[in-house]
């Protein structure tokens, strides 16, 4: 069985450098760690051609103009800054961030009713920015995550926050989703990044930035089985320590028909709406897209 495209790309990082930069940002200053990213991202622009190509491919679609090396540099830089910010959110050193919430009332209403939900984001912006909000509002969020890739980054996260793994539900074991069901039934939120299909997962074709892309069916199937509201979440990172965090209710309850074709059509409909919301936010904040692989590959 061939791996999904995103799993065929190796993690590009160096553990020693990651450790050092995480120490700098948490112990000295975030500003200094940001400054260190300029030579690092320049290095990637010069030598990581595979990444440059996929970045350029995406940026051409979203910016609809000729892409220069400066754009690709900006793209890498935002990704790297986002990673540094994640360390801060994870270790609860998030005091110097400006986080503006939009439609947080959706979340307040759910918390008040002790109603669990499926909180769906994508590999864009920051999911961890939610930690900064969740800690203040005592919202319990567990993230469904595929753990096979990005092992080095996870190692650093665990160092920064030894409880990091407690908030993760590893995708793949039959137990995981049973656990997710138990959690939402007791009012927890389950986070999911719905833009990448895992191994063997069924997909639907949606239009994404003007070209056909494969999106997983899993998130919608899961929402229909959990019988909870499906809320979209976008943590848009502006790259200067400020964030805009958007909550958007996609559906109060997703009910799917039994019949195979009709079922798939409805899944396609919901995933198309999800893709459209991603595209909407990316049009405003293009450098927030963090899928550095050929996303549209057939």
């Amino acid at each position: 069985m061939e791996k999904p495209v995103w799993l065929q790309y190796k993690e590009r990082s160096n553990l020693v450098a990651l450790r050092f930069i995480s120490w700098v940002t948490l112990k000295i200053s975030r500003r200094l760690s940001y400054a260190m990213l300029y030579p690092i991202c320049s290095y990637y622009v010069l030598f990581y051609w595979k990444g440059n190509r996929v970045s350029r491919n995406y940026l051409t679609k979203i910016l609809q103009r000729k892409i220069t090396w400066k754009d690709t540099f900006q793209h890498y830089l935002r990704f790297a800054k986002n990673l540094i910010d994640r360390l801060h959110f994870m270790s609860a050193h998030e005091t110097h961030y400006h986080i503006k919430r939009h439609d947080f009332g959706i979340i307040d209403a759910l918390v008040e009713k002790n109603q669990g939900c499926l909180l769906m984001s994508a590999h864009m912006g920051s999911f961890e920015v939610l930690r900064a909000l969740a800690a203040k509002k005592s919202i319990a969020v567990k993230l469904l995550m595929y753990q096979e890739n990005a092992k080095r980054v996870q190692q650093i996260f665990q160092q920064v926050n030894p409880n990091f793994l407690d908030d993760i539900l590893p995708i793949g074991s039959p137990n995981t989703l049973l656990k997710a069901k138990e959690l939402v039934d007791s009012g927890h939120f389950i986070g999911i990044l719905g833009d990448r299909a895992s191994l063997n997962e069924k997909t639907v074709i949606v239009d994404f930035l003007g070209e056909a892309a494969f999106f997983p069916q899993g998130p919608i199937l899961l929402a229909s089985l959990l019988k909870v509201p499906l809320v979209l979440f976008f943590g848009i990172n502006h790259g200067d320590g400020s964030y805009d965090v958007y909550f958007e209710k996609l559906a109060d309850c997703i009910e799917l028909p039994r019949e195979r074709v009709a079922k798939e059509e409805l899944i396609q409909y919901w995933m198309q709406r999800y893709a459209d919301r991603i595209a909407h936010h990316l049009t405003i904040s293009p450098f927030n897209w963090f899928n550095f692989y050929d996303f549209w590959k057939k």
Binding site: I171, S173, P174, N175, L178, K179, E182, N200, L222, L225
Partner: protein, 88 residues
């Protein structure tokens, strides 16, 4: 209910709950449920199956159960678990 009758019933439940494209008779007792060489179910199917079993037999499969992997191995193990724990 004899074990074979229950096995047939669970096989039918598998097919109907998961909308499978096989006949209940085609699911043998030792066919793996999750590997590709068997029925090739995924983790979402596992959740759907667990919910259907709880609805029909009152058998709650909890995420903490250490034996879950064993329970979901094949039709034989699944039926055995239901037979031992059913409340309806």
């Amino acid at each position: 209910m004899s074990s074979t009758a229950l096995e047939q019933e669970v096989a039918s439940l598998l097919v109907s709950a998961l909308n499978l494209e096989v006949l209940p008779d085609e699911i043998s007792l030792d066919m793996p449920l999750f590997q590709d060489e068997g029925l090739g179910l995924d983790s979402i199917d596992a959740l759907e199956l667990a919910l259907a079993i709880s609805k029909q037999y009152g058998v709650e499969i909890k995420s903490e159960d250490a034996e879950n992997k064993q329970i979901f191995t094949n039709l034989r193990s699944l039926t055995k678990h239901i037979q031992q724990h059913r409340t309806c």
